[in-house]
């Protein structure tokens, strides 16, 4: 099976280790991974800010970059949603482009969903030790309806998965929102951190690098002991025989 990795701009520029983890897990499961280097950003930043023209430009580029890929794997629920759901809206009024967007939408998968539903190898990772709680990234959950997949992967990797209260509540990131209204954003985040802490887990895992950056940023500021991981990092660590 072949898959092109869409790293997302956050992974590309801030969290390359997440990209490495995704590649490691996919390869271990026997997937042939490629990385079309011309990729940059899916356009979500612009789209969520209301800058539709700029978002369209970015989307057009992605249609080209991933034109021939059999599967496109994205380690971020919101970028995957952008490509699977919102591209269709962006190109609503252009039948030719809509057709291409539809094709890309069908070939695009969020990473955990790809592992469970396409590769079908939920047992690819083993040997993870530690207690993990999963934060439902909003777009993974409500645009893509992904919630069982990451939990199953973590569990089968050997993690003890504990549920936090309101795991499906937003962490307060919201892209531009986090810098435009920092007082509201951090108030929401506080509640998330408290819920994470209350589980007694060693780590919180999620499927979106936006949430990851947000939660990590606060944990680092507060000097919290828990770690914030992308699910792929937890799985890669499992393979390498590490815990949280």
């Amino acid at each position: 099976m072949r898959a092109a990795l869409c790293a997302t701009c956050l992974v590309d520029q801030f969290f390359p280790e997440v990209g490495e983890a995704v590649v490691a897990v996919l390869r271990r499961a026997g997937v042939e991974v490629s990385f079309p280097e011309e990729q940059t950003c899916c356009g979500q930043v612009a789209f969520n800010g209301g800058y539709e023209r700029e978002a369209r430009e970015a989307a057009l580029r992605f249609l080209d970059v991933f034109d021939g890929s059999e599967h496109v794997v994205v380690p971020s629920g919101s970028c995957a949603s952008m490509m699977k759901v919102f591209y269709l809206e962006l190109f609503e009024d252009d039948p030719a482009l809509l057709e291409r967007a539809r094709s890309l939408s069908e070939r695009t998968h969020e990473f955990t969903e790809f592992m469970v539903n396409v590769v079908g190898d939920t047992a690819a990772a083993k040997g993870f030790e530690g207690k993990v709680t999963y934060h439902d990234a909003c777009h993974s959950l409500r645009e893509l309806r992904i919630s069982a997949e990451p939990r199953a992967l973590l569990e089968q990797a050997g993690a003890e998965v504990v549920e936090m209260q309101d795991s499906d509540r937003c962490c307060g990131f919201g892209g531009l929102f986090s810098v435009k209204y920092p007082h509201i954003s951090t108030a929401i985040l506080e509640e998330k951190l408290a819920n994470i802490e209350a589980t007694g887990a060693d780590a919180v895992a999620t499927t979106d690098c936006g949430c990851l950056m947000h939660i990590r940023g606060a944990m680092s500021r507060k000097g919290m002991q828990q770690r914030a991981l992308h699910v792929a990092e937890a799985l890669a660590a499992a393979n390498a025989g590490e815990g949280a």
Binding site: L26, G50, E57, R142, C170, V179, M213
Partner: protein, 481 residues
Amino acid sequence: MSVRTAQFRSASAQAVADPKLQTALERVMGHFTEARAHAIEEFPGDSWEQLRERASAIKAHTLEHLDYYLELVDKSVTRNGGHVHFAADAEEAARIVLDIAKQAEAKQVIKSKSMVSEEMELNRRFEEAGVEPVETDLGEYIIQLAGETPFHIIAPAMHKSRQEVSALFQQWLKSAPTNEIKQLCAIARDALREKFRTADMGVSGANFVVAETGTVVLVTNEGNGRMTTSLPRVHVAISGIEKVIPAIEDVSLFLRLLPRSATGQRITSYNSFVSGPRAQSDEDGPEEFHLVLVDNGRLNLLRDPEFREALKCIRCGACLNTCPVYRKIGGHAYGWVYSGPIGAVITPMLTGVKGAKDLPYASTLCGACRDVCPVKIDLPRLLLRLRQREAEGDPARERSSTWLERMLMGRWSNAVKTREAMERSARLGRFLQRPMERSGRIRRLPVPVLSGWSRGRDFPPLARKSFAQVWRERLAQEPSE
């Protein structure tokens, strides 16, 4: 109600810093969301989903043919012996109601809950005209005494503690201090009972207006709605034009959706159906019945195919209860009658985008509201559309996104045009971040717009090597196993 949307930033900052408010929000919102979830669990399979689909479709159909249904309302109410008034805006609506009061020589008016009357600032208008208005919904009564506006669509005084309520009652009703809810209710009941007996006119809202029968449907828990509409000589119901539904058969569907979505109740204590003044055979009921149908910006929404669906709203409040932003800032910060996700959508459309420019952006677009809305309004989508119009500049309105933000967006757009451009920007970024970076994190980010991040959160520095570089140097060569 005066529009204070421009103070969103300071008002919301005050709210998140108010521990009492935070406790109240956590408690009440937590209770509502849990009760709702519990009530919906009873529906097997996708049967709840089907109810939502049907309700959404009925609303869509009614809005599509609103002219027809409004005419039908007019005919039906007239046939029942009532009067229908159409008001273009809040001002005209208030004038109509004041005229009715004047004709009826009303000195005392009792009101049951009506959000549209808040749009009209009806209480102030009554007072200026020498008429005494008394809110009879307990929550509304409390905030009327406090001189405030509703904090929540269905729980207007949820931010008030027992102690505060007791203090208000002591001040206005000369009652003895107490923190017992039961006693507080008894005090209010005593005070209101007298008003019910002596009022000349009752003003109510309308949860639904049934076109075919000319019936106003009121959903309440306190019975005050029934007294307001049946004891005084005159009953005036005020409704937004979007509250119309076609037929009496449709009511049961909405009565299943509304209380469950709002408070998690299977049914509210009172469901009143008011179809005009008392008939000759009736023993009681008002002698006069008026229905005031208010536009106040709604037709603009109706004419706008991208926003029309916002008129499907049945004001259940579920989107407020689940909204992470509302749960932190509460209702007053939104600056007008409606708050939460639905307020963030309709307030800019009804009061003008310019003053309310924060509202469409004050959302994480998490989508929780869309999932609970009983009529399936795609609220995040509507917020996004408002942002689009802002960013692109709507010919009908002034643009409100800042030049700084547009400039940054332009920068971003150039930086992601090609891999090479992105690497070039990142190289510059890595160079610039060096003085700010301390042991793998950036505590303060002195960059316009982005600086807000530094509040409570560290920023990750750009990685030494982008993933693309790592790929080129190491990963591309490694074969799959």
